[in-house]
């Protein structure tokens, strides 16, 4: 933490600072969700009380099961993917290691149910402590959640079931497990404040998707604030004020109103084109996974779908989708987006997504293994089905095809041979299609950057995929907690690779875009403009912000910014150059650009 705590006086206002994880301002009462400090007392019971104590435990377990069941029923759609967590909780609740062991403990040692549960939990903790697989080892948190739920029912404190809170609160916690976050009644959550976490942690992602302000990594906050106290949370800067004085409340009430107004104004303007003050225009498009997301994308001002991920059509089933199914899905997107273009990316599985319908033998390093275009070129039927469906849809609207994980020209040459066969088939069958569907490649493998000048002669557009490009170029596995902090889009090497790809595209006169996470970060928007990218594609919620920034940029100044960035030696230097630029030319846009920078500076 860079920021020190400043305490005005004892019991008075306390100012703390963390990482802003989701923007917005909240002013309200605190609800502390902390299970670590739960006090469990050991109480001996008399022999004649044993039966009733066992019964008390059974009743609590039963109740806990009903609570979980109720949550499962009322799970909002956007959180349905987390349903499995709660189903696992149901099983753990009645697991013999918890229930039978605790009952046994009550009977043999004649102790209270709370203590018996604690004893069982500690036993499970010890066993889990020996597990080498981190993923399985971390399931202990689910066991802890479950036991805490039973203990809360036993003690009558009901600490966790936020669904019972009728008044909106600011939830303050050491950390929120995925289970915690989905259990909270989000209508009653004004903001999240946690001691742990980062901008990419679960809480942050959920908070952003729900539009709830969040500040994470506030060291020790649960020690300084109590349930029922007042708090101000600034999700834009990462500041929090515990027991705020009148001045602070007045100031943040204004800021909250400004923020809401600002956000509405941005949404209202989101349909205006993204043109810089000096007339340079950028096409801002949406990354989409499901056709359902199209409405939000269009409402946010998307000028097309820059990346239609198609993996969702394949996952969660035991067979492969038919050509007609793919046709229907693509057709739906193209029709609803028309006349704006849709860029369909061919199947990108094998790296972090796997199909039960297409088992691939285990690979020690799947990110570098048989995945994406390599898998498609090996499983030709799989590839043909996609290409046929895409070409059939091309007769009905504007679409482009994007191929992932291209390392150089040879993949493109192979792809073109297949494309010709597909076209011949369709012609022979008398099926109409667009002869001139634009073809593009993801620039995400470092060798593709080196070959960009020649690749540009083979295709109609580039789409720079920064997530994988950074991962592969810097040799950093983003999900590996030991190195994830090194992952940095502002590494001068990465900036140079983006620049090189953009230049190669421009010289050949093809369109160059970007569809990685970097494209959706407002603080980086001036870099995108300065690099001369023709289109940037991002999650729908970033579109209004990025368009807003573009309209306030001057492309000439942005090009100077990029020239300066290309001379930077270190990420730190690049960050300072960018911050200086933002402070100088976009001072009023700090709400949009600041959150990310203060997060990045901690890396």
């Amino acid at each position: 933490m860079t920021e020190k705590m400043t305490e005005k006086d004892n019991g008075g206002m306390l100012h703390m600072k963390g990482i802003s994880a989701s923007p917005g301002v909240a002013i309200g009462r605190v609800f502390v969700l902390d299970r670590r400090n739960r006090r469990i007392f050991k109480t001996y019971i008399a022999e004649h009380e044993v039966e009733s104590e066992v019964q008390r435990l059974r009743t609590a377990v039963q109740k806990a099961g009903e609570q979980i069941q109720a949550m499962l029923r009322s799970m909002p759609d956007e959180l349905r993917e987390h349903i499995a967590i709660l189903e696992t909780h149901q099983l753990m609740l009645k697991d013999s290691m918890i229930l039978d062991k605790s009952i046994d403990m009550i009977q043999r040692k004649m102790v209270n149910a709370e203590w018996a549960l604690d004893h069982s939990l500690n036993h499970v903790r010890r066993l889990f402590g020996h597990i080498q697989d981190t993923y399985i080892r971390e399931r202990i948190h689910d066991v802890e959640d479950v036991v805490a739920r039973i203990q809360d029912i036993l003690s009558g404190t009901q600490g966790i079931p936020m669904e019972q809170h009728t008044n909106p609160v600011v939830v303050v916690a050491h950390d929120l497990s995925p289970a915690d976050t989905i259990q909270l009644n989000r209508k009653n959550v004004l903001a999240f404040v946690t001691e742990m976490g980062s901008r990419t942690s679960h809480t942050a992602i959920i908070a952003r998707s729900l539009g709830i302000p969040a500040v994470v990594a506030v060291a020790g906050v649960t020690k300084y604030v109590f349930t029922g106290e007042d708090i101000v949370v600034d999700g834009i800067t990462g500041d929090i004020f515990i027991r705020p004085d009148e001045d602070i409340i007045a100031h943040y009430t204004d800021k909250q109103a400004c923020y809401i107004q600002h956000r509405q104004a941005m949404l209202l303007q989101s349909h205006l084109p993204a043109v810089t003050a000096d007339g340079f225009s950028v096409s801002v498009q949406a990354n989409i996974e499901l056709a359902d997301e199209l409405d939000v994308a269009i409402a946010s001002g998307a000028e097309g779908v820059g990346l239609l991920r198609t993996e969702f059509l394949y996952v969660g089933r035991n067979d492969l989708p038919s050509e007609d199914e793919l046709f229907q899905a693509y057709f739906e997107c193209v029709k609803r987006m028309s006349p704006k273009p849709v860029t369909i990316r061919t199947l990108d599985v094998g790296g972090d997504k796997f199909l039960s319908s297409l088992p691939v033998s285990p690979q020690t390093n799947p990110a570098l293994g048989l995945r994406a275009i390599r898998l498609c070129l090996k499983e030709i039927d799989l590839f043909f089905t996609q290409l046929r469906a895409i070409y059939r849809v091309s007769a009905f609207g504007k679409l482009r095809i994007l191929f992932p994980l291209i390392s150089g020209c040879s993949e493109i040459q192979q792809i073109k041979v297949h494309l010709n066969s597909v076209k011949e088939q369709l012609r022979a069958e008398g099926i109409p299609f667009d002869e001139d569907v634009k073809l593009g490649v993801m620039i995400e493998v470092p060798t593709a950057v080196m070959m960009a000048d020649l690749l540009a002669k083979e295709v109609d557009f580039f789409s720079i995929g920064t997530n994988d490009l950074i991962q592969y170029s810097m040799a950093i596995d983003r999900v590996n907690e030991h190195v994830a902090h090194l992952y940095d889009p502002l590494h001068p090497g990465i900036l140079r690779m983006i620049h090189r790809s953009a230049e190669a595209g421009r010289l050949q006169g093809i369109q160059v875009g970007m569809c990685g996470e970097m494209a959706g970060e407002p603080a980086y928007t001036p870099i995108m403009v300065g690099m001369g990218l023709d289109e940037i594609s991002m999650n729908a919620d970033s579109i209004p912000k990025v368009k807003h920034i573009i309209r306030r940029c001057n492309a000439g100044l942005c090009r100077e910014l990029v020239n300066r960035l290309l001379t930077a030696c270190t990420s730190q230097e690049a960050r300072e150059i960018l911050e200086d630029f933002l402070g100088r030319y976009l001072p009023d846009e700090r709400q949009l650009t600041h959150p990310y920078l203060c997060d990045a500076a901690r890396h």
Partner: protein, 90 residues
């Protein structure tokens, strides 16, 4: 008398939370006493926590032993579950 079968865990992440949940859930549907055995270590197949603590990464060879009125039915069902990769995408 009990019956046994040998299986190999083949899904990529091994017997992690979701497959372990499905496994213990299915095992619980049978009356027989069912044990999961790895390198001589035995656990109750009906307990998700015990199954998890057995820590079975992909490639692990396991023995499932069942004893009771529906032991063959149980073994067949559990074997199919494992062989189909827990019918899940992971």
């Amino acid at each position: 008398m009990s019956n046994e079968i040998h299986v190999t865990i083949e899904n990529r992440l091994g017997l992690h939370a979701r497959p372990a949940a499905r496994f213990s859930q299915l095992a619980s549907r049978f009356a027989s006493n069912i044990r999961l055995i790895k390198d001589g270590k035995q656990v109750d197949a009906k307990s998700i926590l015990e199954v998890l603590t057995l820590a079975c990464p992909t490639g692990t060879r396991l023995t499932i032993a069942a004893e009771g009125p529906d032991e063959l039915e149980a073994l067949t069902a559990l074997q199919v579950l494992i062989e189909t990769g827990f019918a899940e995408y992971d």
